[in-house]
Symmetry: C2
Subunit: 215 residues, 2 copies
């Protein structure tokens, strides 16, 4: 099979997920190794996981929440990236996701830089990302016009753009995050980047020298 190296890797994320943060720290370098770009796409797991799938937040799920608290720091260590549980309550990513889409509409590279800042703000610096002020603060550091952005975040158009983005994510089967689509193959999980890598390399899951459980 031949695949077009101009096809980007789709990366669905939600800033409130630590595993999406881990994915965000790795996907650009992984894509670059295959000569690919990354199409960053925000979604809302509050819609997909909680409302559509009817699940509880991970942090409120018995037994599994303890595992998450153990797992996230070791995944950060495995990826070699800074990480800290923020301890913030009632955070959401609505304003940040709307801001991302507004920036992306005119400059996708700038939007990616903005996304990295938001992820870092929440998962490294333990600062809130919920308010319009929080979001505009990070955007301003990149030279984005704060008042225009604030207006976009709170506008009907800004809200609709995010709603549309979530519907696209659902249509693509992205229930959780991070969720990657590599040459048509859907891959879920911050611990499954090896699958993105393998698919881009072989476009097959079976290969003779199989060793994906080994270092």
């Amino acid at each position: 099979m031949n695949f077009d190296t101009r096809t980007p890797i789709i990366f669905y994320f939600d800033f409130i997920s630590p595993y999406a943060y881990f994915g965000s720290t790795q996907i650009e370098a992984l894509a670059a190794r295959h000569g690919r770009s990354v199409d960053w796409r925000p979604t809302l797991i509050g819609i997909t996981v909680l409302k559509i799938m009817g699940m509880k937040p991970l942090t409120q799920t018995p037994i599994k929440s303890d595992y998450l608290r153990h797992d996230a720091p070791r995944m950060a260590a495995a990826y070699g990236v800074p990480f800290r549980f923020h301890g913030l309550k009632d955070i959401n990513s609505l304003a940040a996701a709307r801001a991302f889409l507004w920036i992306k509409a005119t400059d996708s590279a700038l939007a990616t830089r903005f996304a990295h800042r938001i992820f870092r703000r929440l998962w490294v610096e333990s600062s809130d990302i919920t308010s319009v002020d929080d979001v505009c603060h990070e955007a301003a550091a990149l030279g984005v016009n704060g008042s225009a952005l604030a207006e976009a975040i709170t506008s009907a158009g800004g809200k609709q753009a995010l709603n549309d983005a979530v519907q696209i994510a659902i249509a693509d089967g992205a229930f959780g995050v991070p969720f990657f689509i590599a040459d048509g193959e859907p891959i879920w999980g911050g611990d499954r980047l090896w699958m993105v890598n393998r698919w881009l390399r072989y476009h097959s899951w079976s290969k003779p020298d199989d060793n994906h459980d080994r270092d």
Copy 2:
């Protein structure tokens, strides 16, 4: 740190999970590479996932169920093992798990062989594993006394042994399956055998030559 190579890798499983089946096909060889044995321990995700965690069965979870149907066959291909969705309804693993525990009480190696047969029966041959007859049929092929086993499965003691086993699994934090404990480190998922491998090798998550997302 020094670790005792006599410490087995704990492997929590439930026959009804395709990912536990995948784990069952890999864990013995992985353990052997590190000079380890495997302590096979049945649990019931109908208790941990559905009752305690309050989740729906994966197959009834919107969006995610579609992903599961796509993911399981490719994981089988990646592991190079036979696999087929069985299409059976209302199956459960109570009798098979009780039988496993009864056999294990006197012969753990035989119990492991029995477990492989049950997994294969369900996930390769698409045959039911729910009834006492189903279970005794597989055990008989290994020379196990069928009437004694049938009595054990339906006895109060047989039921209590499984209840106790599930409580131990919960105490160990095993919410889903497969769930491994390698030298104290809890690792969940049929796609995370690389973590079992890495932990046994390095007993650390951070290492300079990190490459776990690469083949």
